[in-house]
Symmetry: C2
Subunit: 120 residues, 2 copies
Amino acid sequence: MLRKINLTEKFSLINETWSPKIAGQVNDCHVKLAKIKGEFVWHSHESQDEMFLVVSGEMELQTRDRSLILTSGEFVIVPKGVEHRPVALEETCIMLFEPLETVNTGDVEDSHTQKDLEWI
Amino acid sequence: MLRKINLTEKFSLINETWSPKIAGQVNDCHVKLAKIKGEFVWHSHESQDEMFLVVSGEMELQTRDRSLILTSGEFVIVPKGVEHRPVALEETCIMLFEPLETVNTGDVEDSHTQKDLEWI
C-alpha cells in the first residue's frame, strides 16, 4: 500500500506531451505528472485551485494580465477562476496537484482535453 | 495573488528542524516545507493522508512493518490511520502536502507538536 514514487523514473515512462498521468492520491487530490511542450489552451477551473511544480525544464505560466517563468524547483498555485495557460518552449516535466474532479482544460473542451487519466 | 515559490530560496529561510512552514494553499490542502534531522515521534493521522516529497537529503519513512528510504525527487503518501515516523540522519528538506487541519504529530501531543504554523 505504501509505495515510493521516483519522479525521474516515472517521467521516463511518459512518451506524450499534455497527457497527465496520476502518480498518487492524497485525500481528495491527485498528484499528476505531465510532460509539456508548446502552448496549452487558455482555460480556468471554476472551483478548483491548481498547483504546478516544475521538476525539470522551464514553464511559462501565463494569465491574462501577467506571466511567470518557472524553472526546476519552483511552483505556482493558480487560484480557482483565474484564466491561465501553461507554455513550454522545450520539453518540461511538471508535477500537478489538484482535486480529483479537475479536468486539464477546465471550462474548455478541445483536442487537449483528457478525462479518465491513467495511473503511472 | 499569483506568486512563484522557489524551493531553494524558501528552505534557506528555515533555521529550525521539525518546524514546518506553509508555502501555499491548494483548495483545502496546505503545501508545507520543513527541514528535518533525527527521529520524529511515532504518530498517525486518523482521517488524513499525508504526502512527503524529499527535495534534498535522505529520509527514512518508517511504518510499524516496513521502512522506505527516499532521496531527492522521491515521494511517498502515507494513508490515513497508518502509524509512521520520519527519520533523517542528515539535515533533509521535505515538502509536505496535507489537509489544512493536519497537525504534524497527529494523534500524539509532545514537544514536536506545532500548531498555528507560519507562512513562509
